[in-house]
Amino acid sequence: MDQNIKELIKYGYFKFKLNPQYQKKNLKILRKIISKKIKAKNLEDFHKICHEKDLNKIRLYIFSQINKSKEFKKNLYLSSKKFIDECVGNEICTSDINLSIQFPNDSSSLLDMHSDFFSGESLFQINLWTPYVDVKKTQSMFIINPKTSLKIIKNIKNNKNLSFKKIFEKNKREIKWINVKLGEAILFSPNCLHGNVVNKEKKTRWSTNIRFKNIFSPYTKFRNEKEIGNFYKPYSLKGITMFNLKHNFNEIIK
């Protein structure tokens, strides 16, 4: 078994180097979008030039622009293609791209400990988490390994008097902060508990995340919008799928 997959199964994630050609293209696009709103020389010092009250507006603007740009998603995919293929294959669908800008000591944009299937997303997706600055400790994201995550989630399902605060406090030691350098990314299973806390470092975190999923792997059992064409958009269809979309053999065997 490939070393990355061994790590994914054991720790819930693996880290890798992005293809620099596509990573640099995206950094350029990101800087260009930001420059339309504010002059930012250094992304990690963004908190020094942007007021906290303007942050959400700017974040929403950048979010909509990177999702409008087909180029940005393509570059994200191509920068990590080999690794995404290893996890979910290459006939895939994707979510939108989420953007996180986390100022030091800002408690307004926190993502509490959770698994993505808590909101009805598929168990069979991989999350590509890409920082645009070096990140370490609380400036980064945390993850809990799959074995411990499953134990905690079973407890959430069965225990009435449990709160996320209690769970967080009780499992502090299980939390793994992932230090990632600019030019690197991680692929993780968002079934594992993950999230962030107040950024206690001196620098702003910039990161994107996007889910990749094989089109034909299972979706959620709950009836909601976390389905193909809605939350998951088809991204790369392969020959035999296109063949069957063209010719309706499917109607014979219903």
Binding site: F117, G120, V198
Partner: protein
């Protein structure tokens, strides 16, 4: 290492599955909530979703713990409140203890005292009797 201890003044809460007779994709629930927050001149915060596979309202209880005294909590409907009596009583007691004002957009109701919370409880019970 600390998760934030800063108490919230406003919060909203959603379900990612059917509630009562309604189902709305999360992003449309956001739109309704954002509009309501704007109309009421309240500071909008991203809604938190309940854990889909439990009926123990763990996220709702978590939000209430994080809310400040006399804060505002906005829900789309009374159907987001559990219909299991014991759990609902526990949740309403927590809300009343903190004097939290809870808004239910679809029913156009607001509760902030014993009488109003008890009215909502009765409405939930009544619907359960009528529609079951």
């Amino acid at each position: 290492m600390k998760s934030s201890n800063k108490k919230l003044k406003f919060a909203s809460y959603i379900h990612n599955k059917k509630f009562g007779n309604y189902y709305l994709p999360a992003r449309f629930q956001y739109v309704i909530l954002r509009d309501y927050f704007a109309k009421k001149k309240m500071e909008f915060t991203l809604p938190q979703g309940e854990v889909i596979f439990t009926n123990k309202s763990i996220r709702l209880i978590d939000i209430i713990e994080k809310l400040d005294e006399k804060a505002n909590l906005v829900l789309l409907s009374i159907y987001l409140i559990p219909d299991e009596n014991k759990l609902r009583v526990k949740i309403f007691e927590k809300l009343m203890k903190k004097k939290i004002k809870t808004h239910f957009i679809f029913e156009n109701l607001v509760a902030s005292n014993v009488k109003e919370y008890s009215n909502i409880s009765n409405l939930i019970k009544l619907k359960k009797i009528i529609y079951k």
